[in-house]
Symmetry: C2
Subunit: 410 residues, 2 copies
């Protein structure tokens, strides 16, 4: 018999299965209304358009789509991305773009290229769980920065930057899990601080195009370019984008946009990881997106998701107890509820299932785990239809009121 535990590498001791994915398995009973997943609304997938695109690609360019191809990605898709990223004046070129299998692989590759074991990393607290999971093998030292309704606390950021951390990881728009957006003023302050401390930031932006109203804020790479006067992607920002939330996750197409000087190492890491992403899915994405289709599709997503957020807001106002708090998200898929501190939302998850409703307990989004965020939970509003959202929030509100009542007993 092989003793696999002995055979495993040291780093596997830090590796864990995604807590969310385990939770999702429990929420798939048809009687449960689930706000747990981070799933886009499947009824909005442009299935017909994708089918036509697949047919076109395999008819006109079948052998190209099925053969080995470039590690950097398919040229026309990289051009499409570069064009979209250049729309507000910063020149992003094909050479800045590396196609990856969803932004998650971008996180993985950036880690391989930049992180040594024991390095220090600055993160929002709470932060994106998939990043924590991907980088766990590096046994990083985390500097957490608290957030409010305008995102990251800049004074706290200045303090941690004094320790010269290797990297800052940030979801500036409609953050997962909190739904919070970093304000324009703080974006400018952040870039100035990075310049002062010779810092780097990974700008993970899966939700940025899903804004429900008001003006889009400039990306960190744009503010960085403005700050340095370069008008090119050649500064302190490595950007992560994905088609998962604006088209469909199943194609597994995302990208890293990075300064040319670091592209060579990222491409090497991509080659080692899986040679290259599928040219078939890349060409399908490109053929689906083109001729303005993607931009129009995004407008639809914004509308539908805005309605669902509004339904959830109204239902929370109606059904939740008063002593819960959250930031109203201006876009994206999520919000995070802070219940009274004595509530253990991880333990209450099973109670919620009894009420036939599900959320993701917040603890695992916090570097400090349950001690820091045991009283929080994340709600997704993109996946369920409005009537279901209202009913689910009603169930969850009843559960919360149930467990909170004893606190007010004499």
């Amino acid at each position: 018999m092989v003793d696999w535990e002995v055979k495993c590498a040291e780093r596997t001791h830090y590796m864990t299965r995604s807590a969310i994915r385990e939770i999702l398995k429990l929420t798939q009973r048809p009687d449960i209304i689930s706000f747990a997943g981070g799933l886009p609304a499947p009824e909005l997938f442009p299935v017909d358009r994708v089918r036509e695109a697949a047919d076109l690609v395999l008819t006109e360019r079948g052998t190209e789509a099925l053969q080995y191809s470039a590690s950097e990605g398919v040229a026309e898709l990289r051009d499409l991305i570069a064009e979209r990223m250049s729309r507000r004046g910063v020149q992003v070129t094909r050479d800045n773009i590396l196609i990856v299998n969803g932004a998650q692989q971008g996180i993985e590759l950036i880690g391989q290229v930049l992180l040594d074991e024991g390095d220090s990393l600055v993160v929002e607290d709470p932060t994106y769980m998939g990043m924590l999971q991907a980088w766990r093998p590096y046994n990083l030292c985390y500097h957490t920065v608290p957030t409010d309704h305008d995102g990251l606390d800049i004074d706290a950021l200045r303090e941690v930057l004094k320790a010269h951390p290797k990297l800052l990881y940030l979801v500036p728009n409609f953050q997962n899990p909190q739904g919070v957006t970093l304000s324009l003023e703080r974006r400018r302050q952040l870039i100035a601080l990075l310049d002062e401390f010779d810092g780097l930031v990974v700008e993970d932006n899966p939700y940025g195009e899903l804004r429900f109203g008001g003006e889009d804020l400039p990306s960190l790479y744009e503010i960085d370019a403005e700050y340095s006067g370069k008008r090119a992607l050649d500064g302190r920002v490595i950007y992560l984008g994905t088609f998962s939330k604006i088209l469909a996750p199943g194609v597994r197409v995302g990208w890293i946009a990075a300064p040319m000087a670091i592209m060579e190492k990222l491409v090497q890491a991509k080659q080692a990881a899986d040679l290259h992403s599928s040219p078939l899915t890349q060409l399908i994405v490109s053929a689906t997106a083109r001729d303005g289709f993607l931009d129009k599709h995004i407008l639809t997503l914004r509308e539908v998701y805005r309605d669902r957020r509004d339904v959830m807001m109204d239902a929370i106002a109606t059904y939740f107890p008063e002593d819960v708090h959250f930031v109203k998200p201006e876009g994206g898929l999520f919000l995070m509820v802070h219940a009274p501190k004595h509530l253990d939302m991880t333990a209450l998850f099973k109670v919620a299932l009894d009420h036939k409703v599900a959320y993701v307990p917040g603890a695992d989004f916090y570097v400090g785990g349950a001690a820091a965020g045991g009283h929080t939970f994340r709600l997704n509003f993109s996946n369920a239809r409005p009537a279901m959202i209202e009913e689910g929030i009603k169930r969850l509100g009843a559960m919360l009121k149930d467990v909170l009542v004893p606190q007010y007993m004499p």
Copy 2:
């Protein structure tokens, strides 16, 4: 300005770009006949079948194909693979199978789960370059084992196993780059040795189904099961398979087949790497392969590639100088030529381009680099049509005779 070299992780110093991929860029002039790539014949891709499969999948299961899905892979594809791997009596189940983006990602994930920095690894010499590249960041200690026409030298293997290396990596069928196949007797000896020394082997088998004649040899996982009497995939072998050579590389679908006890860690590594492989391409592969199509398609590939190998053999006999050596491959895509030791086939690559023919210099396949394999070169016979193969070998033979002549001058 950011000094990226200072920012990069230590491991990036060991990372390199694939030498082959760099070479391929030089061989894309239309006047050059290239034996350099490892490309399947694109004219044999079943493009129509894939297009019909894509249409069917997107018509009948569009939202499933485009949504997030399981990290382990799509159930029906895992079943199809398990069924094919069980055909000779060893019970392989869905739970043994993890879908990955081509076998290259399998190599990457196995490395993450099993290799600590500085670990020792046993490899054939020469060995698969993509493995060397993927695992370079671990700064491994290599034990090389020489090969002959029956594969790995078993006596030499016994010697290196005494040092208790972490892992053995092997391409037992029609090895890349040499085209050599490990004999049945040596397979049995190898498994017995692994058992004696409590060793593990990665059986990388991209070409195994492309045999040109004679009986297929049992896989190492089959011999291991027979040896232990278990009739299950639960021993010392981690198997890597891929659809790249038997269907099409562009779908990027491969798999790891491993004992259940190590699957959990492999799945965790897969989640961290990119969440999961594309359900769209997985479902397309499954719909393409089913109803016996894949088996029939493989028969076609065997025939065409056998003809091309034969044409290359005949041309080599006609046009090459006498003092070159190689093992005639019984399948797969490659053979490796050993020229006289004083020839530097890396330096001669440019001379070959002047003769409008290309190969891959062998040095990078050797752990010892040019000192060990500078006089070797790899030839691919799957990608070029027969007339081109003959003409290319003629050109290469002329070049070799040119550079060898001075040796015979008084």
